[in-house]
């Protein structure tokens, strides 16, 4: 068994790197063969925006990394280059390396899903990694479809209002935990790369539309025109919040007994604001419809950081600020049935247990 875990942050200073570091340390303790990459570039010593120091990842010997050429000399760790791939990034081609001397590393891995898959497969199949951590990049979520589950780091740096923060995180949780299409029905959808309208019988007539994504109003009209005889709508690619809302406005009760099937939740989350998207998903359900995904990408845990960089107008600089930690943890935990952890206070032990339970690997 192997497991690929994505770690995403909702904003700078929400503790994504702290979370990754803590998980790394736990994994080093239990000595699991480990791979580490990131979506893009992360690991600046100083946070570019706020000017506050930012921890970088400390990697130990034998860890396998995917790392762009220009970042090889960016930390104190030393590497043996196992392969220089054809994957090019603005910071040079991606190298697969093994850490030969422990130290701090600047991780900049491939930033496309397909490339992440290539790196991941290589780490697992050729280099024997059991766990692969994928460090997220701010504002990027799409490549996370290649992971088996994600951990989201959020906190006061995202929003200092606890209610808003909880609602927003809850929306992500709901969206990421949409029910899966049953295994026997998967075959009908896997190979469609355009929006497909399935008639009453799934193996019956299928109408394919022009686009794979729901991003324009023309497509909405086509769906509305054909809806009479449709049992399921499959959207293999992106779903835009704006256009989904348009579709809902047009269909309303026509959703009754119909199923919207999406490839994975990321195709939804990439298309808009999670809360608004959730609202649209709920509208479909309220009208008697269902929403399912082909591929599940569960939200495994939430890590919280009550810290935020507080802007001081008088000094024209940032200083540390905090929101009520207990309240934040309590409200967040009440809203979701997954572990909610203050990673700085608590460490990653419980987090890792949850993760390992999920994959059923125990060292």
């Amino acid at each position: 068994m192997n497991l690929t875990i994505g770690i995403a942050g909702t904003a700078k200073n929400t503790g994504k790197t702290t979370t990754t570091s803590a998980i790394l340390n736990e994994l080093y303790n239990i000595k699991v063969p480990l791979g580490l990459t990131s979506i893009g570039y992360d690991g600046e010593e100083i946070d570019n925006i706020t000017g506050l120091p930012k921890p970088r990842l400390f990697v130990k010997e034998n860890t396998i990394l995917a790392i762009a050429g220009k970042c090889l000399k960016g930390g104190s760790a030393e590497y043996e280059i196992l392969e220089t791939t054809d994957i090019s990034t603005p910071l040079g081609n991606i190298n697969i390396v093994r850490v030969v001397k422990e130290g701090l590393a600047v991780i900049a891995g491939p930033n496309k899903g397909t490339q992440l898959k290539y790196v991941k497969d290589m780490m697992i199949n050729d280099l024997g990694c059991k766990i692969i951590l994928v460090d997220g990049a701010l504002n990027r979520i799409a490549p996370m479809t290649e992971t088996d589950g994600i951990i989201i780091a959020t906190g006061a740096a995202r929003n200092t209002n606890i209610d808003i923060l909880v609602k927003e995180t809850e929306a992500l949780y709901e969206l990421l935990n949409l029910p899966k299409v049953s295994e026997d029905k998967l075959k009908f959808f896997l190979h469609a790369d355009k929006i497909a309208l399935f008639s009453k019988a799934l193996d019956g007539e299928i109408k394919f539309l022009k686009y794979g994504s729901l991003i324009d109003f023309g497509t909405v009209e086509e769906i509305v025109d054909a809806i009479e005889n449709v049992q399921a709508i499959f959207i293999p690619a992106l779903i835009s919040e704006r256009v989904l809302k348009q579709l809902n406005d047009r269909l309303n009760q026509l959703w009754s007994n119909k199923t919207l099937i999406i490839r994975d939740s990321i195709k939804l989350i990439a298309g808009g604001d999670p809360q608004n998207l959730l609202k649209e998903i709920k509208r479909i359900k309220e009208n008697g419809g269902k929403v399912k995904t082909l591929q599940s990408l569960p939200l495994l845990a939430i890590t919280l950081n009550p810290f935020y960089p507080k802007y001081r107008f008088d000094k024209n600089s940032y200083e540390p600020g905090y929101i009520d930690r207990e309240e934040l943890l309590k409200q967040m935990q009440n809203a979701m049935e997954i572990p909610v952890i203050d990673i700085k206070q608590e460490g990653a032990t419980r987090l890792l247990e949850t993760v390992l339970n999920h994959s059923r690997i125990k060292s």
Partner: protein
């Protein structure tokens, strides 16, 4: 190469001129382009990518606010829409850096200063090689295009006659400077420290007391001191640091624009290097070593890393070497040997250390440079031979104009030394002054404009010989004031005049040229480089048209030169002609120098 379909899309409420320029660049290379209007939603851009089946997308984002969120989202949309693997996506804008582009998942990021060519290279999937590092960043041999044939055969004949006389006159003579040059060469070539010591003792015998006391008792001249090893080490590191981030600007706008030299000589080799690196960064093509005036009147050179508190940087092997090592590989380097008592040794040092050019002129050095005519004539013949041996072209400067010698007389001297250079296998470069010289202040040829008389000089020289021309030194001399704007403008206009006249090289001043109360500064150097660049840009291939006076004065000058040369031939001895004032008289303001008088030795 396959034709690419490129979508250019601004993620801004307004259109980015950069995208339009890139669009034009791509179309010139035969690619299909589509420019989206501004203010479209990200979904609309994604849809357009799908509809048009484009290969490459170039996004521009000028505004810095929220840039990471918006751009990250765009890449997520592209990936979720399933097109990320099919199209290359680049991002450009003021707030963009490669690190940010990487973080946001773009294939390339183009920040401020990106060229159209860079974006085209990205589209075509080529590695971008900046132009600066290629074509225009090669060292240019400004003599390459010239065969030195004479158009004025009468003048050529007169010159040959004079040169015969010079070679005959100097054939049985030598000087301590020539002896020192040979010993210096042996010191440099020797690897044996005890042999070097022996040679140094011998060297010291041919030096002035002040230099002797350095070699014998380790004494430094006043206002000079050795640099510490800490300073030398720190310099090495500084230069390495700077070189690692040096990506120089290009001054020239068109091929015809001349090579641009700057003079350095702050006194301290380290400050020189700091200035040189700055000038390189702002596009100077060459640098000229400017030594202190007392160096010209002292027999012998010192050794070691030595700094100096006044104008001019001391010539020692180590000083020159550290300057040479700090230069970018494409920077032309000239070490002047044109006057003074160490001319042959200067050329040996320059040649051994790898200078590209030197500077030799008997007439200027002996009439305005303070060196005895006979002494300098003998030294110069040896120096020119070294220059030829080391393959260093040398310019023949005519700064005696600044003492009041009229241009035609100064040119006569310049042509004699040039012909001498050619005879000895050297490659002379004519260096007329582009200045407001005392001659015209009196005779009024610049009352109306600064163009005609300078143009006349170039026309005149072109009528005589097919040789490279390097306007000096610095151009615009005596037209500049202490104000940086006026000063830079004067330099830039003279640079464009030189370019319009098709000359090969120019030496430019800093905007501190007219300031004499202290050392010149780095910003003042950048001022004139920027001004010159702007002026080249302004004129392009268009020319400055002199009035009819230019041609008329050129003819007068040519006649004047011929008359001067005739008088020298008539006199029968070039050295005597210098004493007699035929190439610049006391009335003109030229005085035969006294340094080194009666020091010429018979060859043993």
């Amino acid at each position: 190469m396959k034709k690419k379909k490129v979508l250019l899309a601004p993620l801004d409420p307004v259109h980015d001129i950069g995208l339009k320029m890139i669009k034009r660049g791509l179309e010139q290379k035969g690619h299909d382009t589509l420019l989206m209007p501004p203010d479209h939603s990200q979904e609309e851009i994604i849809k357009s990518i799908i509809d048009n089946k484009v290969d490459v997308v170039l996004i521009s984002r000028t505004l810095g606010y929220g840039v990471a969120e918006i751009l990250g989202k765009f890449i997520d949309l592209a990936e979720a829409a399933g097109i990320r693997d099919k199209v290359k996506i680049g991002i450009g804008g003021m707030a963009i850096r490669p690190e940010l582009a990487a973080e946001l998942g773009f294939d390339a990021g183009f920040g401020p200063g990106t060229t159209v060519e860079e974006a085209v290279a990205f589209v075509e999937g080529r590695e971008y090689k900046p132009l600066e590092a290629g074509i225009s960043r090669e060292k240019k041999d400004i003599t390459a295009a010239y065969d030195y044939s004479f158009r004025n055969k009468r003048i050529e004949k007169l010159l040959d006659n004079i040169v015969d006389g010079i070679l005959d006159y100097t054939s049985d003579k030598t000087t301590t400077a020539i002896l020192r040059a040979e010993i210096r060469r042996q010191i440099i070539d020797s690897t044996d420290e005890s042999e070097k010591e022996k040679l140094r003792r011998e060297y010291a015998k041919y030096c002035d007391d002040v230099v002797k006391s350095f070699y014998e008792a380790g004494k430094y001249r006043e206002k000079t001191r050795p640099l510490t090893s800490d300073e030398v080490k720190a310099l090495g590191k500084y230069v390495d640091d700077v070189n690692s981030r040096l990506n120089p600007l290009t001054l020239q706008h068109i091929d015809k624009n001349p090579v641009v030299f700057i003079q350095y000589g702050t006194g301290c080799p380290f400050m020189d290097i700091a200035h040189i690196k700055s000038c390189e960064a702002w596009g100077a093509n060459g640098v000229i070593h400017f030594d202190p005036s007392w160096g010209a009147r002292t027999e012998g050179f010192l050794e070691g890393y030595i700094t100096h508190e006044e104008d001019g940087s001391i010539i020692t092997y180590e000083n020159l070497k550290s300057i040479k090592e700090s230069l970018a590989p494409y920077t032309l380097w000239q070490v002047r040997a044109h006057r003074g008592l160490n001319t042959p040794e200067t050329v040996v040092l320059a040649g051994k250390i790898g200078a590209d050019l030197t500077k030799i002129n008997i007439a200027y050095g002996s009439l305005s440079g303070g060196t005895d005519p006979e002494r300098l004539t003998v030294d110069a013949v040896a120096a020119i031979k070294y220059a030829a041996e080391f393959g260093m072209p040398f310019d023949v400067v005519t700064n005696e104009e600044l003492s009041g010698v009229p241009a035609f007389k100064a040119f006569a001297g310049m042509l004699i030394v040039s012909k001498l250079g050619l005879r000895l296998g050297g490659k002379p470069i004519l260096q007329p002054l582009f200045c407001y010289s005392p001659e015209v202040m009196i005779s009024g040829q610049m009352e109306d404009n600064y163009i005609d008389f300078n143009a006349a000089k170039i026309y005149c020289l072109r009528n005589i010989i097919n040789a490279p021309i390097w306007c000096g030194a610095p151009i615009g001399f005596l037209t500049q004031t202490e104000d940086r704007v006026q000063s830079s403008l004067m330099t830039a206009l003279h640079a464009s005049l030189a370019s319009s006249l098709g000359v090969d090289a120019i030496s430019i001043a800093s905007s501190d040229e007219a300031f004499s109360k202290g050392p010149i500064t780095a910003p003042s150097r950048i001022d004139t480089l920027r001004a010159t660049q702007a002026s080249f840009r302004f004129f392009g291939h268009s020319d400055i048209t002199p009035t009819e006076n230019a041609k008329k004065w050129a003819e007068e000058m040519e006649e004047g030169i011929e008359k001067v040369l005739e008088s020298v031939v008539e006199n029968g001895n070039f050295v005597d002609a210098l004493y007699q004032g035929l190439l610049g008289s006391r009335e003109d303001g030229a005085y035969p120098g006294r340094a080194g008088r009666n020091t010429v030795l018979r060859k043993s």
